[in-house]
Amino acid sequence: MKHFATVALGLAALLVGTGGAHAQLAGEPFIHDPSTITLSDGKYYTFGTGRGGLVSEDGWTWHSGGERPGGGVAPDVVKIGDRYYVAYAVGGGGMNGGHASNVKVMWTKSLDPKSPQFGYHDVGTVASSDGVEDADAIDPAFLYTGGHLWLSYGTYFGFIRIVELDPKTGGRLPGNQPVDVAIDMEATDLLFRDGWYYLFGTHGTCCDGPNSSYNIRVGRSRSPTGPYLDNMGVPLLKGGGKLVIDGRGRVFGPGHFGLIDLGGGTEKFSMHYEADMDRSGRSVLAIQPLLWRDGWPMAGENLKAGTYEIASKRSGNALQLDVDFVRIPFDFRRSFFAKPGEPIVPIPDQTLAQDSAGWPSGRVAVDMGEYMIRPHQQWTITPVADAGGYMGAPYYKILIAGTTRALAATQNDEVEAVPAFTGASAQLWRIDQLTDGSYRISPSVRPSGGGDLALMAIGASTPTLAAFDPTSDKGRWTFKTP
């Protein structure tokens, strides 16, 4: 399992994305079969089929970069100690009609070509297929857990197989034999969580743009060598697999899962979409939240632009401007004493003008209260174009609906609403979906400097900026339609 510190938090606000606030990543994230995103020398790297790869300083804006010798298809990367092991396949894949292939491994101490530690050392072939057997040794994927290094590989041509490697050398353990664990999958990946081994793989057809039916599925097992079953108990060796993600909106054919463990209850995953219809239908890198329900992974979503109540999972109270409560004109006797024959008429919502008549014109404190369907409790949340972002998502602005009043971090680590959104880093927010489906809200930078903070409900009605605690509901928020 790969685990990143949230090192990008401090850097991210300094970066300017080259694209707008797309539903997908900024920059030129063109890739097919991306390897697990790996941090090296302060930058994120992923490699694809062919020699090149992508590099990013924040996980949001990606550019062509990185060097991976050896060519071939669908590499993967894992860091063990001070080595980055890289597995890749040469041959197979049905290209030129053949399925004879070799999975090779090499290592380097840095993925940054400018680093003095950069330089690949060949380990050799760790798995093969002879072109006749029902297997095709391509699409390797590492799992390093409990001191063991596992490698899955294979494609639509026959079985997915697992072998064990020596984590000290990257070579195959002596005497180890491949184990069949699935059929009819491609681009597999493994992860270990709570005593279960999860085998991800891609079903469907690739490489045909918006006609590609690629979709990512998963099974799990108590043993790395299986048997892997899906949620219905169907063995992956009999075609089973629980759906994790399929195409949606303007992107088609997700495939090639890769875990991104950001720590603190935030997990994401990388993949490619076969076709991004806003980018000429090209294959692109994508990153989405990873959720867990009843022991099964599922794809989450970056928050969609919209107007929401921001509700604390601690108290259920709503984030709001700390302003006077304005009553909706109403004779309480109507509720109980109206005669049956009296006409029924709708009562209008409280308007922004009614609610805001007494609001201070300058900065306004922010607190929390019972949600009363009032304008001072409703926030319009929008990705900010060209403001950069962080792993897999753009920065957002959070404004009281219908106004320019923006949620902002203060110099003393509190939150307030400023009169107008200026694009300042203290007004840019990172919104990460957590593995339980709720969200963590963090300022893009800490105005006072220092480590990263999150919006935390330190009381039922009191928010502040403090260190995120993944074991508590204090820092978990949900977005509800008003």
Binding site: G98, H99, A100, V132, D134, Y156, F157, D184, G204, T205
Partner: protein, 236 residues
């Protein structure tokens, strides 16, 4: 293309072995020899009827050598295309005759029926064709088996997974169709409720594939989705 080179070298010998093993009319016996390259996925049919495996999958079939039907991609396997391709009459008696092991039909070239027991739960058509040195891509496979039920069973369903698309008929009536570029998943598509007659039932299938592996798995399930195992299958 290593495998192709090997095939060209081995086909005559394999064909001779296959012919010796599978000709002679009626079901082959335990004494017949499975061509090396049909192992480990197929073996000669054994004497007597065969019960389904523990999950109810039917593993004894008459398989016809593949009919050539070029398709560069499986993406064109729409429902209408599949229906047209798989209901086209390629040879006399296609939908009615009960073939026997070793029978031949002619579809451009002579094609032979082979009685085989699948070793795994699925019938690996690609390996069947590859093992016999026949075309593996751009093909239609025909499969027939006889299901013997000790009693009439109503409201059962035929559960099929196939790579790629397929159509299936029970006692001459269409039971289920799987269109699209499918990968094989057990219980992928189930038929409407159908009846297994007491005694002999003829189950017939046709599978079409462009590039890639091809296989199918078939079983009957009851109203609770449980596999039906108190039946036998045979090829005569």
């Amino acid at each position: 293309m290593v495998s192709r080179q090997r095939e060209s070298f081995r086909i005559p010998l394999l064909a001779a072995i296959a012919a010796a093993a599978l000709c002679g009319g009626g079901a082959a016996t335990a004494q017949t020899t499975t061509p090396d390259r049909l192992a480990p996925y197929f073996q000669p049919v054994t004497a007597g009827a065969k019960t389904p495996d523990a999950d109810g999958f039917l593993q004894r079939w008459l398989l016809l050598e593949p009919i050539v039907k070029p398709n560069r991609s499986n993406s064109g396997f729409t429902g209408s295309y599949v229906r047209t391709a798989l209901t086209t009459k390629y040879f006399p008696g296609q939908m009615t005759a009960a073939p026997r092991d070793g029978d031949t039909v002619t579809v451009a070239t002579p094609l032979r029926w082979h009685a085989l027991d699948a070793v795994p739960f699925d019938v690996k058509l690609f390996n069947f064709a590859q093992g016999l040195g026949k075309p593996t891509y751009g093909v239609i496979f025909q499969a027939v088996t006889v299901v013997n039920s000790p009693r009439e069973r109503r409201n059962v369903r035929l559960a099929v997974g196939s790579n790629a698309a397929s159509m299936w008929w029970l006692n001459g009536k269409e039971a289920v169709t799987l269109s699209g570029d499918r990968r094989m998943v057990m219980d992928d598509v189930l038929s409407p409720r159908i009846t297994l007659n007491k005694g002999r039932n003829v189950l017939r299938g046709a599978v079409i594939n462009g590039p890639g592996l091809s296989d199918f798995c078939v079983r009957f399930v009851d109203e609770d989705g449980k596999p039906i195992r108190d039946i036998t299958v045979n090829v005569k």
